[in-house]
Structures are given as structure tokens and as C-alpha cells.
């Protein structure tokens, strides 16, 4: 089985690799064109304004950052919790974590008002800001996961993979807590201002990360004409179901609690019923496509024998995740700040009205640029090093998965 594996340059066809590289490169060129256009003309060419200040680029970027931390979970289950099936998948998981985090951070940096001041951001820290703390966590993540990969893939250092894996696991928990707190610490806005954001983002990261891993692994297996053993598929899909269910639970708790508070009724009515695109994306995207449908597919009879069904379920989770980020990030800004509760408010600065947001082409290019960066890093890494999971079936207890 292991001998058939061939993605890296020792045996794979060059043309396929170069095709993928060119595809990713073309998208990245579009992103760079958008970046330079925005940097030159200013954000006036985008759909973002003084009301909706974080737009589509942040939706994609924060999704990638959250999923990056989650995709490392697969490796953690192997190194930290000792499950052998996941150990074989650890290098791929670690590499994807680095690639996706790079893509997400790329998206954020490219959208800064003054991207030429990145050095300033790296050298001036206000540690009271959870954003600044995040920057430190992201840099540390690269270093720690890089080290982790080295211990996993080198000949001599394998014994260190457990402690470094534990460090990586704890680090990413802190990192995702901090990412969720970017929203949770915003005291003024009805859509944020909740301690629940930190654990909710942790659970979302578990779901999105595992879904991303399943998608990439499925593609790699298909590319090499290898069948995933159905017992492996079964365990992965059931784990995904647990995470998706937990994500739905946190979402439910957040909104049910908000609905309990009279002061939050207006916002919840907006987000869940009357806000147009936001209820549509919430119910249709986040809950249905990203939650209910994948669960139905995962637990449908014969799912463990059907890699395409599991792949589709994972893909839907990813799509639902983007819908969730859109609702969270943009829905939270579209609803106006309530300076005078109990009063109808109006002004020349769009007080008291729902803020419209129409993304421009430039923002879409910035957004997909993050995915392009992650894609390119993955393609190159998979070509250069051996990331294909090599399963040694005699060691794994695979009968535990009954469904």
C-alpha cells in the first residue's frame, strides 16, 4: 500500500504539479493586483466603509486562521492522546496548519490600511489588546508547529514528538481562545460582547479543521488512486459529526441566551428573522449546510463505505463555516450601535439604520488570496516531502467504529 503512494518528485508526473502551481499562482496574481490597487487608491475602491469596517477579506482570513488551528487537532490526537491512526496523519496535519495559518494571516495583512507598517505591528505591542496577543500566538504557532514537524519527520528526533506535540496542542488552544476573544472582548456591540466566543471558536476550529483535513486527504488519496480504508473513514467522519454537533450546541446556547435578554431582542430579530441575507446565511448556510446536512450524511446508512459522501459532508462543513464567519463578522457590524436604548436614532453618520455591505471584486480577490496561499504551500510541500499518510493496519484498533 505504501509503495503506491506517489505525490513527491521522485515519481509523480511533473506536469500535474506544475498545473496546480500555475492555477494557484494565477489566483495569487489576481490577489496581488487587488492588493496593489487598494493600496494605491485607498479602501475607497472597496465595499468596506466606516460602518462595516471588516469585510469579505476578514471572513476568509479568520476562517482560515480558525481552521488552521483545528487542522492540527488530527496530529494532536495522535501525539497527545496516542491514537495510532492519527499518528500517521500527523505530518500532513501539521503542514496544513502552517499553510492555512499563513494564508489566513496573508489575508489580514493584505487588507490593512497601512500594510507598509507591518514592521511597526511586529515591533510595537500593546499587550492589553487581544489582537496584539494574537500576533504573538501566530508567530509562536509557526515556530512550534515547525519544530513539531521536524520531530515527526526526522529519523532521530521522534521521541520528542510527544512533548512538542503537547506544547503545540496547548498553544493552539490558547491561540483559538484569543481569536474568539477578538470578538468576545468587544463590549459595545450587541453581536459580540460574550465570553462564549472563546470556547465557541475552539469548537468551530475542531470542526472546520477536521473537515479541511478530510477534504485534503480525500483529494490526495483520489489523486493517487488509493482507497481509504473504510474503518479509517468511519472514525474520521464520526469525529467530525461530534465536532459539528458541538458547534451547533454552542451556537444554540449563544442565541438562546441572547433571546432571553430584552436588550438583545432587536439584534436577534435582525440576525435570525428580518435581516435579509443574514438570516439566510445563518439558517441556510451555517445551520443547514454546515450543520444539519453534514450530520445527516455522516450518519446515513453506508456512509462509512462511501468516501464521496464523507468528502461532500466535509466540504459542506467548510462552506457552512464561511457562512458562519460572514454572519458573525459582517452581521455583527451591519446592526447599528444602540447609543440611546429606547430611542429611534438618526444622523448623517448612519446611526440607527442597518448598514449595507456589498463586497467589491477587490475584496473577493483578497479573500480567495488567502486560500491560494494555503493551496500553494500545500502543493509545494506535498511535492517536496512525504506527507501521504502511511497506515500500518496491524497496529490500529479499527473495529471500534461500528456505524
Amino acid at each position: 500500500m505504501a509503495e503506491n503512494v506517489c505525490m513527491n518528485r521522485s515519481c509523480a508526473k511533473s506536469s500535474e504539479f506544475w498545473t496546480l502551481l500555475v492555477m494557484g499562482g494565477v489566483v495569487l496574481l489576481g490577489t496581488l493586483a487587488a492588493f496593489f490597487y487598494i493600496e494605491h487608491h485607498g479602501h475607497i475602491v472597496t465595499g468596506m466603509d466606516n460602518q462595516v469596517v471588516w469585510g469579505l477579506p476578514h471572513v476568509f482570513a479568520i476562517f482560515l486562521i480558525v481552521a488552521a488551528s483545528g487542522v492540527l487537532n488530527v496530529a494532536s490526537i495522535g501525539s497527545v492522546f496516542g491514537k495510532k491512526m492519527y499518528k500517521a496523519r500527523a505530518p500532513l496535519s501539521g503542514m496544513l496548519a502552517i499553510a492555512m495559518l499563513a494564508g489566513g494571516l496573508g489575508g489580514v495583512v493584505l487588507d490593512l490600511g497601512r500594510p507598509d507598517r507591518l514592521i511597526v505591528a511586529m515591533t510595537h505591542y500593546n499587550f492589553k489588546s487581544i489582537f496584539a496577543v494574537n500576533v504573538l500566538f501566530y508567530n509562536g504557532f509557526f515556530a512550534i508547529v515547525g519544530l513539531y514537524l521536524i520531530t515527526l519527520m526526522s529519523k532521530n528526533l521522534k521521541q520528542y514528538s510527544k512533548p512538542v506535540g503537547l506544547l503545540a496542542f496547548l498553544w493552539r488552544l490558547a491561540l483559538t481562545t484569543a481569536t474568539g476573544s477578538i470578538f468576545g472582548f468587544l463590549v459595545a456591540r450587541a453581536g459580540y460582547n460574550s465570553a462564549l466566543y472563546a470556547p465557541m471558536f475552539i469548537i468551530y476550529s475542531f470542526a472546520y479543521g477536521l473537515a479541511a483535513f478530510i477534504v485534503v486527504q480525500s483529494v490526495m488519496y483520489k489523486w493517487n488512486n488509493i482507497e481509504v480504508d473504510e474503518r479509517i473513514l468511519c472514525r474520521l467522519k464520526n469525529l467530525l459529526a461530534i465536532f459539528v454537533g458541538a458547534g451547533l450546541y454552542f451556537t444554540a446556547v449563544l442565541h438562546l441566551t441572547n433571546i432571553y435578554f430584552a436588550k438583545q431582542w432587536d439584534f436577534e430579530r435582525f440576525l435570525l428573522l428580518e435581516g435579509g441575507i443574514y438570516p439566510l446565511l445563518f439558517w441556510g448556510g451555517q445551520v443547514l449546510l454546515g450543520g444539519v446536512l453534514p450530520l445527516l450524511m455522516i450518519f446515513s446508512p453506508g456512509a462509512r463505505k462511501s468516501p464521496p459522501r464523507v468528502f461532500l459532508a466535509a466540504l459542506l462543513v467548510l462552506i457552512g463555516g464561511h457562512a458562519q464567519m460572514y454572519v458573525t463578522i459582517i452581521g455583527g457590524q451591519a446592526f447599528p450601535l444602540n447609543l440611546f436604548p429606547g430611542y429611534a436614532q438618526s444622523s448623517s453618520f448612519f446611526d440607527g439604520v442597518v448598514h449595507a455591505y456589498t463586497p467589491s471584486l477587490w475584496e473577493m480577490l483578497l479573500g480567495v488570496g488567502g486560500i491560494a496561499i494555503a493551496f500553494l504551500i500545500t502543493v509545494i510541500a506535498v511535492r517536496v516531502l512525504k506527507f501521504m499518510p502511511e497506515d500500518d493496519f496491524k497496529d490500529i484498533d479499527l473495529d471500534a467504529c461500528k456505524n
Binding site: H43, V53, G113, Y125, L339, G342
Partner: protein, 252 residues
């Protein structure tokens, strides 16, 4: 400065002092009503002295005197600070007139809304580089040299006081540097406050005779604004957030 210049200035200072001693009596009598007491309760600092915590700048706005449809404060702000004065979704507005109507009682009020210069500003807490800062005398500013334009402070501000500059700017007021890619908000006209003057909005409101805005040192018990706040009921917008704003309102 060279020695010659210094001597000239000292000589001029002496003449100036004499002139002022005579002039102040006449000026006081002529200007006592109106402008004097409402507009100029501020006291500035020497240019080579740092801002000090002994002072806390604040503003008191009497919404009862704020006229519907009047835009003196917003126009004056735009003129003083070099803003465009436009009100599109991407245009900077450091101060705006708000019209509010009580949904239960129907009571209506007008008031200017601007950066509240909080004592515990959320915008300062969340800025990753520390560009959003609070000066010792309470004025909340953006250090545009280190602002990277991430707009997180705009997400955090409860009053929607901050604006982002969406396009390259030219022809700025030399006293008020502002440019593309940075976030900005009301500075209490810090360039004027440091020259012993009041913010442009306050001066314009006084000049127009509405007298709805008062500016001064909250820590000086003898200043007009402190005495007014002791006598009348004043409210803090979104007091539930515990920010201890420097801008207070009367009549809502």
C-alpha cells in the same frame, strides 16, 4: 533659536505685557457676556510643558439648546481639521448631529455626537500597536505614525466615533496631519487646546448664539464646566459600560 531672536522676543514680551494689562480691563468689560464665559473656560499649557494629569478636558452639551437642523459644530470641525464635510459612507465625520426620539413618549432631542474621550477607552485597549492612546490630560488621540489601519478600534468604539481615511489626501491643514489608511476621530481640537483656545465646534456654537456646548477642565472645581456639572443633572451616553466619558449631556 539664535540669541538675537530670543532678545527680540523678550523685548516684545515686555511690551506685550504692558499692553495686555491695559487691554484686559477694557476687553473684559466689552466681551463679558456670552462668548467669554461659554467659550473660553479653558486654560492651556506652555508649549514646552507636557500634558499633565492635573487637568482633564471635558465637554458639557445642553441638548435643550441644541437646535434642530443647525450644523455649526460639524461645519466648524470640518473647516478646522481639513475634513471634506461630505457625508457619504466612506467619508470621515468626527462630529455629527444626532436626532433621537423616545419610542415610548415621543420626546425628541438633538445633540452632537463625537468622541467621548472616555477615561477607560475601549479603543485604546484594543489597539494592537498602541497607536490609539490617551494623553495625560484625558484627550484620546490616534498616533498616526504607528497606526497600521487594522480598524479594530472602530469595531470597539461604543459611540461610532472613529472614521477611517479611505483615500489619499492632499492639502491637509498643517496643524492637523491626517492621511490615507489611518483611523482618526475627534481630538478636542488638541492643536487649539494646546494654544489656550477651545475646540472649533464649541466656538462655533457660541458664535451662533446657541451656547449648547461648553468646554473646560473637569478637574478644576472653579471652571465653568465643573460648576455647571455640579449644579445640573448630566448624563453619560451608555453609562452602563462604565467608561467615565469626558463628554456629558444635559437634558436627555
Amino acid at each position: 533659536m539664535s540669541e538675537q531672536n530670543k532678545q527680540v522676543h523678550e523685548a516684545a514680551d515686555g511690551d506685550r505685557r504692558d499692553f495686555l494689562k491695559v487691554g484686559v480691563g477694557l476687553a473684559g468689560v466689552a466681551l463679558a457676556p456670552g462668548v467669554l464665559f461659554y467659550g473660553i473656560s479653558a486654560h492651556g499649557k506652555a508649549p514646552d510643558a507636557p500634558a499633565s494629569t492635573a487637568v482633564r478636558w471635558g465637554m458639557l452639551i445642553d441638548t435643550g439648546k441644541c437646535a434642530d437642523g443647525c450644523n455649526s459644530c460639524t461645519t466648524a470641525c470640518a473647516t478646522e481639521n481639513g475634513l471634506s464635510g461630505q457625508t457619504g459612507p466612506q467619508d470621515s465625520q468626527w462630529i455629527r448631529k444626532m436626532h433621537i426620539k423616545n419610542l415610548q413618549t415621543g420626546a425628541e432631542h438633538n445633540l452632537p455626537m463625537l468622541c467621548q474621550h472616555c477615561e477607560n477607552p475601549p479603543c485604546v485597549d484594543v489597539c494592537p500597536t498602541g497607536a490609539s492612546m490617551k494623553r495625560a490630560d484625558g484627550i484620546v488621540l490616534v498616533d498616526r505614525h504607528i497606526c497600521i489601519g487594522c480598524r479594530y478600534c472602530m469595531m470597539a468604539c461604543p459611540y461610532k466615533a472613529r472614521s477611517f481615511v479611505h483615500e489619499p489626501l492632499t492639502d491637509q491643514n498643517p496643524e492637523v496631519p491626517r492621511g490615507q489608511g489611518c483611523v482618526e476621530s475627534c481630538t478636542f481640537c488638541v492643536q487649539r487646546v494646546d494654544r489656550d483656545e477651545t475646540p472649533a465646534c464649541v466656538e462655533a456654537c457660541s458664535k451662533d448664539g446657541h451656547m449648547a456646548m461648553m468646554f473646560g477642565d473637569l478637574k478644576d472645581p472653579n471652571s465653568d464646566i465643573a460648576r455647571a456639572m455640579q449644579s445640573y443633572a448630566t448624563t453619560e451616553v451608555r453609562a452602563d459600560l462604565g467608561l467615565n466619558t469626558g463628554v456629558r449631556y444635559q437634558g436627555i
